[in-house]
């Protein structure tokens, strides 16, 4: 029965079928774009208000 226990443990540790592993580069890209957008838009509002 030892082989069965080992097989069950291996199955539990293996990545699930269809589960995405990693992908942090996409997450970072989205957060950097969001923050860049906020800073650029706030900056454009500040500059336009100074002009007016």
């Amino acid at each position: 029965m030892n082989w069965l226990v080992l097989a069950q443990a291996a199955a539990a540790e293996a990545p699930r079928m269809g589960r995405i592993v990693g992908g942090w580069e996409y997450v970072w890209a989205c957060y950097i774009l969001t923050w860049a957008g906020i800073v650029l838009y706030a900056g454009s509002l500040f500059l336009r208000r100074r002009k007016t």
């Binding site: 699930r16 269809g18 589960r19 995405i20 592993v21 990693g22 992908g23 942090w24 996409y26 997450v27 890209a29 989205c30 957060y31 774009l33 969001t34 957008g37 906020i38 838009y41 706030a42 509002l45 336009r48 208000r49 007016t52």
Partner: protein
Amino acid sequence: MQLDIPLSILLLIIVLVGTQIFVPSIRKWVWPAIAVIAVGMLAVHPYFALVWAPPEREMGDVYRIIYVHVPQIQVALVVLAINAGCSLAYLMKKSWVTDALAEASAEVGVYMGSVAVLLGAIWGKPTWGVYWDWDPRLTTAAILIVVYTGYLTLRRFVEDPDKRATWSAVMGIIAFVNVPITYMSVKWWNSLHQKQSSPKTVDPQMVWVLHWSQVAFFALMTTFVWHRYLLAKAQREKEVALPEALPPARPEAA
């Protein structure tokens, strides 16, 4: 009914914005206060979204894009609804206040909507295998951005402030038709984009972080719209005052 911290902050923002309409004397500290709330909430947002929230069962850590993608598209739809409301109000009673607010809300809507669509495309790559697919949600969202960019272009091209306000108000109402279509597209048609999730089926910790993100971007949107409104109003006052400021025409020049 029990309110969590983000929803309590949202309630506070709504009360502050509502109160300053009836009590203008508090206006000078209400808008800086909302800006401080936005900055404070956004400062800790990356910790909650990238560290504190647990990974998702199937998408792992990639799902963390939800905390910047969903709030920005939701806020864009809200702010475009404000644009439609102001457009309708302008056609019913001509006012530079509603016209300036319509201009401000459209610009903030296009900015946040464009960022949200871009983030959605990035999220599509690890989950769908492609950056873009012409499915109903993505297509209607892209049309939304193009139409409201057209609205802003129209405002830039028409020089007469009165005509500009009337024409853009009509276009604002027509353009708004696509807002509920974009929201409902995942329910009406067979879409690759997932349907709206129910908080009942999601980990409470994830729901809390999503609420935090939604309120943070709502506070940011309010701040942006207010400052853009002041800018639009100042430009309108300048335009309307300009003919009176010109020196009278000399008889020999005529």
